[in-house]
Assembly symmetry: C2
């Protein structure tokens, strides 16, 4: 029989990795809750009618689809079957797919529960998503997203609080060198209007690549899209502005003052900065990046993207304001929303690279009780009960084994302390309590051990 | 456009339900970790070669299968396609399925990581599983399992600790009236031998139904399976024994003394009771139930099942010892293991029925900051920062709105306290701090508010 394998692009998370992941998740969850976000979970499977058409054509192809149960071929048209057209037949044999992100299920939830929800609704959601992408380093077919969104308010404090939450999460994780890039779709539209762009979409796609392909690359791309030299030269004059956010806003305001969208965007951005000030927060890490466009998706206001500096990992968080969340489900009265998402797998990789995890991170017992014979084993069970009653995670080596084997087990499992019990200890109650890392040992009573560990 | 729906048998968990579920999960996780179990997570998708054949024929049919991506019909045999045989074609168009339980993925993990794991290995796993079962009350197509298993030791302290963990979890949840049924496959085999059963499997299947179909039903079923009257009469004589576990063990030992399996089972059971005593634990709630058989699956030693009394809900936890966990993956050196699982969805339903959840359980902010105008709004942002810096979950109503609307929002979201800020408060710093449940209000400073809430 062949050894079993994992589907490609998927992973097991053993105890050591789980401890580090839980550290990240708990940090994010704590911050989300501190800011008033409430938890939501949606099913892994959604109807394909919910998912299809929401992520563009490429996204549709990356959906994992669930084969209908039972005789799934029963109602399939003979002609279709004979044509052997996989694409055409899919909708006949599959009705459900795996969640591709957390935003569409959230929109579906809001539409289905509109009357019960009290708006503004702040929800967070921490769950895996699945994409049939080609697996590669840092790209998986199953990965976690941690989303927080507010729907039902236009208030720019939501944008400001996204910045505050990112800062607080990174502080908790010990990540110090990072940039929160912020821009506004209105500003981008204003620039498009100002440079008389022949195609707004092409402009956004091109400047979003500035980081990767440089000024020459963007110029080349825009030329092929029909932009003239004058437009492109003006564009780069705009994009070249340096200095503080306040400087950039003043510079742009002088140029975009005839564009409604541009001025709205600048006003929003300024207001976000003012609100941050009222919070007593600094704008460390905040970088107004005029070239940030965040693809083409549904954003309509402020947009965000977070990069950790000095690691070869893409953005670890991103988001923005959208005005059409529920429209795709036929909702007429659109709700404005704003949200962002942490990519835990990338944050994990960055923290590994920066060596930010504690050395022996492992969810493990604090104490291992070791024993020499049946008498000390049974005595040890009582010791164990006392430790656990005091809330101390602990265990006893379950078999009769040489002491060396028992201590090796403690070391491998990352257990911090051992108590070794022999007939002497059963008589005296004075127990050798050893700090496995320091190698120090002292003979004390179980009560003393407990009060030491509770300190 | 139609309103979106959920796939049948699946559920969303909104904030109120999530709070209650998290309460159960955290309780279980805490106990697992206190007993030295370490977390593991495996992917939702497994290769069908891993899953198929592990759950019997019925189980195989309940697997959710993932359609291969791309042109999945490309390599399908023409003949098969024309035969329109869904069953035959499945393996050609689907290679992966969704996890059906947590035991098989755990076995796969152990086999794949055998050289890195230090045994005995105690792992816990809290993840959803999927079954294409017909949905009905209390039966879902996506539901969570919480498993804890130890592999690599025969020690009966594992069995004893399962009992201790169940007791500790139920204590934490406030569930007081329940029974932990325990039996041993060896005892059942001994009984089969003693009554000269013509078919051991048929015997176990029949007596497992004693609860549901009664003595007459079991007798009828055994007769149709070829058991004679004498066998059946002897069986019921054995099953009729009443009294304490010690009584039952003595009674059975007198009858099964010629059966090796039976005596082994009784010895194990007695040892588990002895170990519990060494732990200083009582045997409250523990019920030696000779008719407990737990289906036909892979158990080889002690078996467990937990029922909450006075609720119309099946067993909420079960498990046992198995000796062949990794055999199905071609592992020659079999590892003995013992484990159990909590069914969170059923525990949830039982706790609802018994009204064990706190009245306003909701993951929500502790404080809502309310405001009258732009000045008090910006002042409120500073108040908010102070609250959050002290670790107090809090939020500000994000829009300008009438006070009544802001207070209604606090009530609906289950926020415990409000601070209402107007121009008076901005000047004096004396803030009206209101307990929303009691309706009591006092004017105090933000520092006083914080120290009150931290108490």
């Amino acid at each position: 029989m062949e050894k079993p394998t994992l589907p490609k692009g998927t992973r097991d998370f053993g105890p050591v990795v789980m401890a580090k992941r839980q550290f990240i998740f708990e940090n994010i969850r704590k911050v989300f809750q501190k800011y008033g976000f409430q938890p939501l979970e949606t099913p892994a499977m959604e109807n394909l009618s919910t998912l299809t058409g929401k992520y563009g054509e490429e996204g549709d192809q990356l959906l994992f689809k669930i084969l209908n149960t039972g005789d799934f071929l029963k109602d399939v048209d003979n002609q279709k079957l004979e044509a052997r057209n996989s694409k055409l037949i899919t909708s006949n044999i599959s009705e459900k797919g795996l969640r591709y992100d957390l935003t569409v299920p959230f929109a579906r939830y809001v539409v289905m529960n509109r009357n019960e929800i009290s708006f503004p609704f702040k929800r967070y959601q921490i769950q895996p998503v699945w994409r049939a992408d080609r697996p590669q380093k840092g790209r998986y077919r199953e990965f976690y997203q941690c989303d927080a969104d507010v729907v039902g308010t236009n208030s720019l404090i939501c944008e400001a609080e996204i910045i505050l939450m990112i800062k607080e999460v990174f502080k908790g994780l010990g990540i110090q060198d990072y940039s929160i890039k912020i821009n506004h779709r209105g500003i981008l539209s204003g620039i498009a209007e100002y440079i008389k762009a022949v195609n707004e979409t092409a402009l956004f796609v091109a400047i979003d690549k500035l980081d990767k392909i440089g000024e020459d690359g963007v110029r080349q791309e825009l030329l092929t899209k029909g932009f003239d030299d004058a437009s492109i030269t003006t564009l780069f004059k705009i994009l070249s502005v340096k200095g503080s956010a306040t400087n950039k806003i003043a510079f742009l305001a002088a140029h975009l003052d005839t564009t409604q969208h541009g001025m709205n965007g600048l006003r929003d951005l300024q207001e976000v900065l003012n609100i941050l000030k009222s919070y007593g927060a600094t704008i460390d890490h905040v970088d107004f990046d005029i070239a940030l466009a965040r693809g083409l998706s549904y954003y309509t206001g402020c947009i965000f993207e977070v990069k950790i500096n000095n690691v070869a990992i893409g953005s670890v968080s991103g988001g923005g304001r959208y005005d059409n969340l529920t429209q795709s489900f036929g909702d007429k009265e659109n709700l404005s929303g704003v949200g962002f998402s942490f990519g835990v797998d990338r944050i994990y990789d960055a923290m590994e690279e920066l060596k930010l995890f504690p050395k022996n991170a492992q969810v493990s017992s604090t104490v291992l009780v070791c024993h020499f014979d049946d008498e000390s084993f049974h005595y040890g069970l009582g010791v164990l009960t006392q430790l656990r009653s005091a809330g101390i995670a602990s265990e006893i080596y379950p078999d009769q084994a040489k002491l060396k084997k028992q201590l090796d087990f403690a070391n491998k499992k990352g257990i911090s302390y051992t108590i070794v019990i022999g007939s002497e200890e059963v008589k005296s109650g004075s127990l050798p309590f050893k700090d496995m890392e320091k190698g120090e040992q002292e003979k004390i009573t179980i009560d003393q051990i407990i009060s030491k560990l509770q300190r």
